[in-house]
């Protein structure tokens, strides 16, 4: 993945100059596997450059992937193993060794794409690693037990349009130099969350159906964090920042860098966030 990140940065550098290239050799690959009574699916995806879309698919298909990539520059490897009803799906679209970085400026890297539909019928563990990727992930309606999302220089939108049909133990979001937005986190069912951002803007929208309490660690290096929380949710924020502005209208400041929403004692469900960062700003909005 390190090579992917280097490639991602190189592509970002070449980004404004990118233009459709004549020498690209596009390959379309699609795979669909029938759902045959599997009980669990572990999914790991590594995607270097392009557009990525993930969503809930038809329940009779375990998964369906559809990809388009330049076969001169990238390799697609997909592997499916199954044992005792537990499936393991690995998809990797990574740069091959033959790529010439000098040609990157001519790459129409945005034309490459990967679409993955996953079944909503069985529990899933998702592990996603992305380089310079424009990603749209709608994880609503899936049965997510675990989620790990790592991005490089990317523009990522994650949403939980429907409630998660499983209780997710742990959700991790790591964004590099990125614009990163997660909507309807209340639907995610995540009990514990870890969000870290290197450089850029993080937007975390905790809307959704809350039927549980949750905790989260939010860490950002350089950039701004916008946190949107529903008015009915009791929220506690523990702030540990350096050279970061903090703006939380409607919150009451307590001792020790703690901020509490006024309905903390009366709210049915609670969200506890620990926010840390170096340089930038934190905005907390009640919606």
């Amino acid at each position: 993945m390190r090579a992917s990140v280097i490639l991602a940065v190189a592509v970002m550098l070449a980004g404004p100059a990118a233009a459709p290239a004549a020498g690209q050799s596009w390959r379309t690959e699609a795979k669909a596997r029938q759902y045959r009574g599997q009980e669990f699916l572990d999914v790991k995806i590594t995607y270097a450059v392009g557009r990525f879309e993930l969503r809930k698919g038809a329940d009779h298909l375990l998964y369906r992937l559809d990809s388009r990539y330049d076969e001169d520059a990238f390799d697609l490897r997909s592997n499916y193993l199954e044992s005792e009803g537990r499936g393991s799906l690995r998809i990797e679209i990574d740069d091959n060794d033959d790529i010439d970085l000098r040609d990157l400026k001519d790459y129409d890297y945005e034309a490459g794409n990967l679409t993955l539909d996953l079944t909503g019928a069985i529990p899933l563990a998702l592990d996603l690693e992305m380089g310079a990727v424009e990603a749209q992930l709608d994880l609503g309606g899936l049965k997510l037990r675990r989620l790990s999302l790592q991005t490089g220089a990317s523009d990522t939108r994650v949403s939980f349009s429907e409630p998660n049909r499983e209780a997710a133990e742990f959700c991790t979001f790591k964004a590099g130099a990125a614009s990163f937005r997660v909507d309807d986190l209340g639907n995610s069912g995540c009990r514990r969350m870890q969000v870290s951002g290197g450089i850029g803007r993080l937007t975390l929208d905790f809307s959704g159906d809350w039927d549980h309490d949750a905790t989260g660690d939010i860490n950002v290096g350089l950039g701004t964090v916008q946190i949107r929380v529903p008015a009915e949710l009791g929220v506690r924020i523990e702030k540990s920042t350096f050279l970061m502005s903090f703006d939380a209208p409607g919150f009451e400041k307590q001792d020790g860098g703690v901020w509490l929403s006024r309905n903390w004692d009366t709210a049915e469900h609670h969200l506890t966030l620990s926010v840390s960062g170096v340089l930038g700003g934190v905005e907390v909005d009640r919606i």
Binding site: P16, S25, A32, Q34, L61, R77, L81, E82, I199
Partner: protein
Amino acid sequence: MLKHVRYTGLLILVLAATVPTEVAGQTAQAVDEIVQTSVALTGDEAILHVELASGRSLQIVLSDGQVLIDGDEAGRYAPGGALESAWRDLLREASLGELGSGWASFFGSEFGNTDAGATQAIRAVLVPLVAGISADAGAEAQAVAAAEIQEAATAQEAAETEAAAASVAAQVEALEGILLDEVIVGGLVVELTQVKGLARQLVRIGLAPELERLLNGDLEMPVRIVIDADEYRLPEGAALDEMLLLVESNGVVAGTIRSNVLVADGTLLILPTARIEGDVIAIDATVTNQGTVEGTIREPRHPAPVVVAPATPRVRMRQRAPSALSRVTSGLGSLAKTVAMYLLFAFMGALIVYFFRGQLETVSDTVSFSFGRSFLAGLAAEVLFLPIGLVMTVLVVTAIAVPFYVIGFGLLSLLGYTAVAHAAGENLTRRRFSWTDRMRRANSYYYVLNGLGVLLALFVGAAITHMAYPLLGWAHDLLIVSAWILTWIAATSGLGAALLSRAGTRRTYARPRELPELPADSLAEEMEPIERRAEARRRAERSDES
């Protein structure tokens, strides 16, 4: 070609009718059910690959005017013609996971004479599969296929077909006789039973540990290697004592394997009756386990890179320690490098003194007067240098300024390091020389040269001790580490001071300008004769008055 098609169709029908359940596997009724559909489309290729519940797979490739079914040419087509177009439409439908949805359109299309043979070949192998998805469409397709075959057959071809059918039936009978043996269709089988010599060679070239780790087993165990086989099948009741390696092959196991199985670039279906007593290792492969695997099913996260260690020479020569002469030479080389570095910095320092003396002195005063603050500021600058550069790079507006940012950072660092040398030289001068000497040596060139000498002295010491490494190795290591730490501290605090003083234009954190310090005793010595003369004059005046 038509004959071949008919033989193929007939073979399928005969096999379906006569092959006993044991051969067909435990899931006979689901034998044609499609488990996975894979489609690949490029400018000159259109590939369909299906995996079946029975563990079999089928690949149909249209490439450069050729139709290949499981690697064998089954007909030709006109590139860009009607068949290719319909085939690509069918594959686009198949990419949605439903091979049957586009089938009716493909089956109902009319194709030219050029494509007829290839079309029939494709339809013949797909009809049973599609029938499994859509009974109605399948029944219709089978009826039409049968009608086509019947319509096209002449009397002579019919006779050939019957003969072929008889041949197939004979093969099936023979198959029944060897039911408990492996069935290997196509490919190359290599059996290594005497592998001790091979194992010894693997050990010699350093591959043995890697392979042992991967296979979790004994390298001297006999190995059955199946390469590029369309199908490898171990039926129920059969047992294999060797380790099984399936390379670019599709395997179906219903019997017992008493060792490990490695599948590379292929598929393996382990049926419910199967028992594998070792591990199953999959490399770029699909493994479906419905049976019993006593070991583990492993997928090396990345196929282990095979690192070939240098062959171990039979006679090992003990590596000789460097001679005293080479140590002295090496030490002198380090010394020369240090001197060269000193001269380079001295030259650049002199240029800075000549052109920017005021700024240099301000930075120097800042680092002397606010050392801690300067160091922290420099540390922060070093930490933030890369992230800020990255942000500037990502933001299109600031990307153009990145080279200036890097150059500016470098110049500030140079100014800072020179200023630290200046400050060190100035402090040294204050401590070492008397006031009069100090006045004589109080110039920035002298300070910078002296300071650089102080900063690089540890490197000189390290170079000298390197020459006597066996005796003073510990001192050399200590000196070289100390020298680099000192250099880093100097560079960091110098950078910080340069930033705090805005490249030497502000004295906010610098000590206030001082008047030259005049030591009291020296001043007294200077004043004594004057006072004595004045006293003598006053005494003379008093005596005159008296």
